[in-house]
Subunit: 406 residues, 2 copies
């Protein structure tokens, strides 16, 4: 008997009918002779509605209280899912994050899982129950409820799968898996049967919204195979795992894009040690997540320092950086929020010549100007004008022949 | 510095504006130099909405899951109230029933409080916080969430007041206190400044919906003074306590009524020991609450046994009683669900002649037929036709001169 962890996202449990639909899928997995642990997100727009209620009574709600408030969304969906299974004749029990033994740090709104003590889960599995765990939440040593950050039910699921040594972690969502590009942008985008953890991590952190990067990282660390599928179709979706077949290595697997990029350049920075720290530590302290950082070669000990943030955080970032720029004697700060990025991702790129040049020439043929380039071992990213991003994705998808079925 | 426990009902926290209003009242109590612990119900119709969701996925939802589901309503309102207080500059923290240390029996939907371990509450009070506790809920030894029954946030509040040795437990609701009769029925009904625990208990268990009988019992047991007021007006309301002034004793204090009474009569019951047990034990086992029981004097060892239940439970009760009636050789079961009851309540009645006769003659003058009579030391109740109940209340209010201001 295999142990399988399944996770259902908010759109998969948005109303009573969808909850019953998810229950049928869970029941089928049980009928195949598996033990099943399910992690569930809040129903549809529940979390947004709770946040809006909070802001109606307090413009700056306390993080501890917000966590206690938001965590109720997953309590509701987990109990309803357990009830729907019971109505179908299956023994099922819902557990809160606390009951499931998930202890976290006390950094509210973005807590990290410290430990999972799955005693209660194991006891309920032994009794023959399907166990439904409220995603996205845990509890501190002080018994205060925490949340793991938006979209972090994926993290709960993979962490539970690791802790319970599950055979696979199945993520049910509103897309049919990982594609060669966003199918809403590229009509010919093809589903991928499998992809490696690292590739998936690069895609997730460069705009692919299929699943949460933190969960992929955790999957890699604990070697949990992750299957991403749609809860609305019967298709198998994409398997994220470590042992990706030889023949799909050394090629571009998928094009990721992100429309919400802002670029900030600190111009005329004196090139001396400690300057980068002076700029980026205060940004981190203000909770601003910096994506790409590029420093041009220094001429006459003067350099330009460019970094990107999400478009919404541009003004906040400028507020932090401008006084520092003055202090360190930089000339000025300039920003541009009408940017986006396009990334090609695939293992073995660095050892295979020609990928980068094909990417650059494809963009050039489309008359698209590249503002910044960054690379990792398995990714090349170009920052370009926002309104040319979708053209770029389509052109690159053709250039790397991703429309051919595997 | 006094410690005050306040409880706000669902209508007092029905939306963001009402939550802010409750927060202002709490803040005012704090400003007077008191330590404040607040118990809160779920917002407006939240509990009904959650129950409806449950029935959409399961016609017979499991009690444990229902408790886990329903308890979220109070988590939401308690966090929002804490946030509203923070917005006004007050230090406040919300606690779930579990965090507040409320342990209960494991009878889901109708759990009883076993113990309150208020360590966390005391710690937060010492830090200077206003503590907001989610009402209506507790936790079992196994860490499963329980609820105490509908309307039981009153019970949470009085139990906390007892455990914390609070000076007073203030119940804020949508009425202005306890009246000489329901003001919606009797325009001249007068508010009562004070009332004894026993009188209040009789009123609560005979139709007055001001507050939960269980909470009054607990108040009496632990000698917690309970102040019932409206959260929307500044009026002091009614104090329920043990030391009611001498001058208000030995008179009728209030008329209670209840429109939803069904009567079941088992006709022709052989009069022998064990018959009553044979009928009422199975009813209790089926969770049917029997109110009044009357057995007529036995003639030729044959008697009639009559009892009342809430109108909604009539069919269920008949289903239990009919097979038993056949078994014990009774002639038949007859039922009538179009009944109601009217009660006059006041201490010392039994020792003061004339109360009962005045009640019966008043009803007789109105042409109202009395079907059943029951009494306690401080109450006389008549079961009459449902559509004459309000006439009876008005006539009795006049007859006992309750429209005169105290």
């Amino acid at each position: 008997m295999a142990l399988i962890v399944q996770k259902y996202g908010g759109s998969s449990v948005a109303d009573a009918e969808k909850i019953k639909n998810a229950a049928r899928r869970i029941a089928a997995t049980r009928d195949e002779g598996n033990e099943v642990v399910v992690v569930v997100s809040a129903m549809g727009k529940t979390t947004d509605n709770l946040v809006s209620l909070a802001y109606q009574v307090n413009e700056h709600p306390d993080d501890r209280e917000l966590d206690a408030l938001l965590s109720t969304g997953e309590l509701v969906s987990s109990t309803l899912l357990a009830m729907a299974l019971a109505a179908m004749g299956y023994q099922a029990i819902s557990l809160s994050g606390a009951q499931a033994g998930i202890t976290t740090t006390s950094s509210h709104r973005r807590a990290r899982i410290l430990n999972i003590e799955p005693r209660r889960i194991s006891k309920e599995l032994e009794k023959g129950s399907i166990v439904i765990v409220a995603g996205f939440q845990g509890i501190t040593e002080e018994m205060d409820v925490t949340t793991l950050g938006r979209g972090a039910s994926d993290t709960t699921a993979v962490a539970l799968a690791a802790s319970l040594k599950a055979e696979v972690c199945q993520i049910y969502t509103d897309v049919e898996g990982v594609y060669t590009a966003d199918p809403r942008v590229v009509a010919e985008a093809q589903p991928l049967e499998e992809i490696g953890y690292e590739e998936m991590l690069e895609l997730a952190s460069h705009g692919a919204r299929v699943m949460h990067g933190r969960a992929v990282e955790l999957g890699e660390l604990y070697e949990v195979p992750i299957q991403v599928s749609s809860s609305f179709t019967g298709k198998p979706g994409t398997l994220i795992h470590g042992g990706v077949s030889m023949e799909v290595r050394n090629k571009v697997r998928s094009i990721a894009h992100d429309l919400d990029i802002a670029k900030i350049t600190v111009v005329g920075v004196p090139d001396r040690p400690g300057i980068a720290a002076a700029i980026f530590e205060p940004l981190a302290g203000a909770g601003i997540s910096v994506d790409t950082i590029v420093q041009n070669a220094s001429v006459d000990n003067i350099t330009d320092l460019t970094f990107t943030v999400a478009s919404g955080q541009e003004d906040e970032a400028l507020k932090v950086v401008e006084p520092i720029a003055r202090e360190i004697g930089a000339r000025e700060c300039v920003s541009d929020s009408r940017l986006g990025q396009v990334s090609v991702v695939g293992t073995g790129m660095q050892n295979t010549p020609g990928f980068a040049s094909r990417m650059f020439s494809t963009l050039s043929e489309q008359g698209i100007n590249i503002q910044l380039i960054t690379t990792s071992e398995i990714r090349i990213t170009c920052i370009i004008e926002e309104d040319r991003v979708e053209d770029a994705v389509r052109a690159l998808h053709r250039a790397f022949r991703l429309d051919a079925k595997e």
